[in-house]
Each structure stands twice: as C-alpha cells, then as structure tokens.
Amino acid sequence: MSGYEARFRVWRGDQEGGGLRDFTVQVNEGEVVLDIVHRIQATQAPDLAVRWNCKAGKCGSCSAEINGRPRLMCMTRMSVFDRAETVTITPLRAFPVIRDLVTDVSFNYEKAREIPSFVPPAGLGPGEYRMFQEDVDRSQEFRKCIECFLCQSICHVVRDHEENKQAFAGPRFLMRVAELDMHPLDAAAESGLDRKRTAQEEHGLGYCNITKCCTEVCPESIRITDNALIPLKERAVDRKYDPLVWLGSKIRRRPS
C-alpha cells in the first residue's frame, strides 16, 4: 500500500485560452484528488489556481471535473482510479473560466437573488415558532445543500445551452423554491406570492426534463429530482394545468 507515481492532466489557462498540461506526481495511501493538486502546487506549479476551503466535503468550494465528471476534489479518493490511468482535471465547463481550475460561479449568486426569500408569518414573534419534525423533514433535506454548484454545472439545460441561463434558475435554486414552498411557516401565499406558479413562470421549471443528472452528481445525496423538482412540477400542475382546479377557481370567482 505504498505510494506511487501517477499521471495527471490538468487544464491550465484563462479566458484567452489554455490546454491540458501533464504532471507526474507522487500519490500516497488514502489521498484524494485535492491532495494531489496541492502537491502539484507546492512542488511543480506554485501559481496553479484552485479554489478550496474545508477539504472535508462540507463547504462545496473545490468543484471541478475529474475524468469529465463534475465532482468535489476533496471527496474523490485516488483509490477509485487505476494506478496506470491518467487522471484528467478540468474546471467546471458550464461556467466561464477565471484561471486554471477556478471558474466564475456568479451565475449562481445572481440566481439566488432572484428567488424571493422566506416570508415570516404575521403575528409570530421570535421564540413562538412551532413546527413539527415531519413538517420540516422535506425542507431540511434541501437545506443540506452545500452549494457546490455541481448540479448547476452538470445540468444540460445551461451546460449545453448558454442562452438558457437567463430563463432557468437551475436545480439548486428550483430546489430552494421547493424548500420554501414546503416550509411549514412560510407565508408567501398570504403575502400574495404564489411560489408554485412562479417556479414555472419565472424560474424556468419547465426547462427541466428530469433527466436526473443533478441527483446523480449531488455530493450530499440529496434526491433533488424526486423530492424537489418533480413535486414542484406537480405543484405547478395544480396551478396551471389542472382543468378541474381551473374550473373550480372560475366558478368561485364569478359571483364576486
């Protein structure tokens, strides 16, 4: 179980261009890809740009693509690769590159701002909130999200179609809408905000064709598609495509 020399191809470059550079690096037992990137930094390329933080899979900073798949570098053990294999590391390919492995993820922060925040219930002060565990379970699952943006990066809606970035919030932020809509005390409806409708009309839920890459890639194993996106689609159906509901609302509205 001793160390060995492994071959890596790391993308280096910036907005002007760049390419895959070859490195041969020592790998020790139990190491993860981020350890290797750090070793390259410390010994061969001190200015190799990489974003990282906790190195324990909790902050979601070190997202990159390893052998073509978006992953957290700190949670990808070297033992999953064959020793003879050349491991390729590139920046996330859905966002503009800044330098080397660092991408400009501001798309996500812009989308975060477009989701209306939690609306506190009127008449309840701090300390007066009562919620039951079964009522918070669903939203709590979504709040496990570490905002690594791997789902945003792998989703073909924006990865393969830059032009959709305007209209589509991406899995992470549609999940945020679902989280708030399922929050037992969110008073958006009372304030005149219909999250079920806006999910479709403003945040681009219809672009999602539920091909589940977001779920596959989630390092927190959140079942984004089954538990957030599809339930949200069903809620949108309640509002927009259910003729019975539509008829009911017409009839009720007419007398007034």
């Binding site: 191809r9 993308w11 470059g13 907005q15 002007e16 261009g17 760049g18 390419g19 895959l20 550079r21 693509e65 052998n67 073509g68 798949r69 978006p70 294999e85 390729t88 590139t90 390919r93 859905a94 966002f95 503009p96 590159v97 991408t103 400009d104 039951f132 079964e134 009522d135 792998i154 073909h156 809606v157 990865r159 393969d160 179609h161 830059e162 032009e163 959709n164 399922m182 037992p184 681009g204 219809g206 672009y207 999602c208 064709n209 539920i210 091909t211 589940k212 890459c213 596959e216 890639v217 089954d226 599809i230 339930p231 689609k233 069903e234 809620r235 949108a236 159906v237 495509y241 259910d242």
Partner: protein, 273 residues
C-alpha cells in the same frame, strides 16, 4: 508532453465563449453510452413487440386468460369472453384491433411518466445522452412549449391507469377459473397474472403524481396523519419507480405472450388444480 494551447473558439454549450477552452465535447472515460444504449434497446424491443401484438387482433384470449393488451375489450369485433372484460362500447364501426382503443391509456401513462421521460429523453433524444456529455441539439426549450408541455397531464393518465389496473385485477380474479369458467382453479397462467398485477399496481402507485395527490401537496403533514402515512408508503415505492417501471413493462409483455402461446396452441396451460 503537454497538449498544445487551445485558443478561444466560437460555438455553443461547453464551447461557449468564456468557458475553459477544451475542444472535446466531453472527457468522460467510462462507458457512459452503455446505460442509454441499454435503455433504448429495451424500449425499442418492447415497442416492436407491443406493436405487433396490438395490431395482430388475434390470439388474445385463451379461457380463462385475457391478454392485458386487450383488456378491457371495447368493440364489437372483440372475441366473446365469458364473464370477461367485454363491453361493446364502440360498436361495429371499429374495424381494427380493439387493443388500440385501450392501449392509449397505459401508453399515455408510461409516456408521460417521470421515469420514462428521463429514459427516452436520454436514450432516444440524447438530451442529454449522459451526464456531462454534450447534447447534439442546437437549441433546447425542455418542457416549456407544445408538445412537451403536455407532459404536465401525467396525473390524468394516472387516474386512467388506476381504472385499467382495476380491470386487470378483475382479469386476474377471473384467472382463478378453469377453461369452462368454473371457479376455484389455478394454473401457471394464474401465477403469471398474479405477478403481473402486483407489479402493475406497484408501478402505478409508485407514480410521482400519485405521491403528490396522496400527500405530497400538503404543507403540514402533522395535520393529516393518515395521508402522511400513505405518503410515506408511496414514497418508499417511489424510490423504486424505475425498477418497477421496467419490471411491470416486462411482466405485462410476459402475460400477453403467455396468452398468445396458449391461444395459438403452442402449449397448454399447466393446471395445478
């Protein structure tokens, strides 16, 4: 041995301006094409088989078994099935196979099913072919426009699927007769039908729309304990929706094929009692 520097290039998707200059559409090294290929092959096989059987208009009844493709049978040209799911709703003008009338519903249910959508979007449309593998289409509007916006009617097909599953349950009950319509008998076909109906129900109830209707639409589970329990049950099934989708697809074809074999006289139903 470094590969040369790639300079900015035009293009869309992962080659859009601003993104890391990598010419390859993807860098996956695993056999990513295997899953969509298997999905496509499996679905194609079923489509071929079911098209043949649905248009055959023959060999769908071998007392006491009626093929699930032809049940309920709603035209005048249906074969008489003693106590079976016959009802001459459409009358004599319907000239082609009566299977077509009823297959619309299970077909629509599966076509709009959240799992099958994923399967054929990936397998047939390559949208995307696999995760992080660039899709070949120049533009994409998902399910925001006609026709794909119609996927939102899934829940109505779910209601229809409940009715169809009810009829198939009735057929399964009928399979406890012998070929002279006496009750209290059982053959190998009965087991095939039992297996099929269990899978059909499991698949139908594990549907995402069902999960929503049963309880998912609620904001407060704590105020609806019975619906909460039902939701949890459906959620457990829902986690296996894909497996159930395939299993029930195979079982329904198997049940039909079994009836075909009996009706065409290839072999006789082994009777237990």
């Amino acid at each position: 041995m470094a590969t040369g520097t790639e300079h900015r290039h035009g293009g869309g998707g992962v080659r859009a301006p601003g993104r890391a200059a990598i010419a390859a559409a993807h860098l996956r090294t695993d056999r990513w094409w295997l899953a969509p290929a298997c999905t496509a092959a499996g679905l194609l096989a079923f489509v071929a088989y079911s098209t043949w059987r649905a248009f055959a208009n023959a060999h769908y009844y071998a007392a006491p078994y009626v093929s699930p493709f032809y049940s309920p049978c709603l035209a005048q040209n249906c074969r008489p099935m003693h106590g079976g799911p016959n009802a001459d709703v459409f009358g004599a003008w319907w000239g082609i196979s009566p299977a077509i009338i009823i297959l619309i519903f299970p077909l629509g249910f599966r076509l709009t099913c959240y799992y099958y959508r994923k399967a054929y979007y990936r397998g047939f449309w390559a949208s995307p072919p696999a995760c992080a593998v660039a899709e070949p289409h120049r533009s994409y509007s998902g399910e925001t426009r006609f026709p794909l916006i119609l996927q939102n009617v899934h829940r109505y097909f779910f209601y229809a699927a409940l009715l169809v599953a009810g009829v198939l349950t009735y057929d399964t009950a009928l399979s406890f007769r012998d070929d002279r319509h006496h009750w209290g008998h059982m053959g190998l076909g009965t087991l095939v039908f039992l297996l099929n109906i269990v899978l059909i129900w499991s698949y139908t109830l594990s549907c995402h729309s069902c999960r929503h209707i049963v309880g998912g639409q609620l904001k407060h589970f704590s105020r609806h304990p019975v619906r909460y329990r039902a939701w949890r049950l459906v959620s457990r099934l829902n986690a296996r929706h894909m497996q159930l989708a395939w299993a029930s697809l195979i079982s329904v074809a198997l049940a039909d094929f079994y009836v075909y074999l009996l009706a065409s006289g290839v072999f006789d139903d082994p009777r237990f009692f």
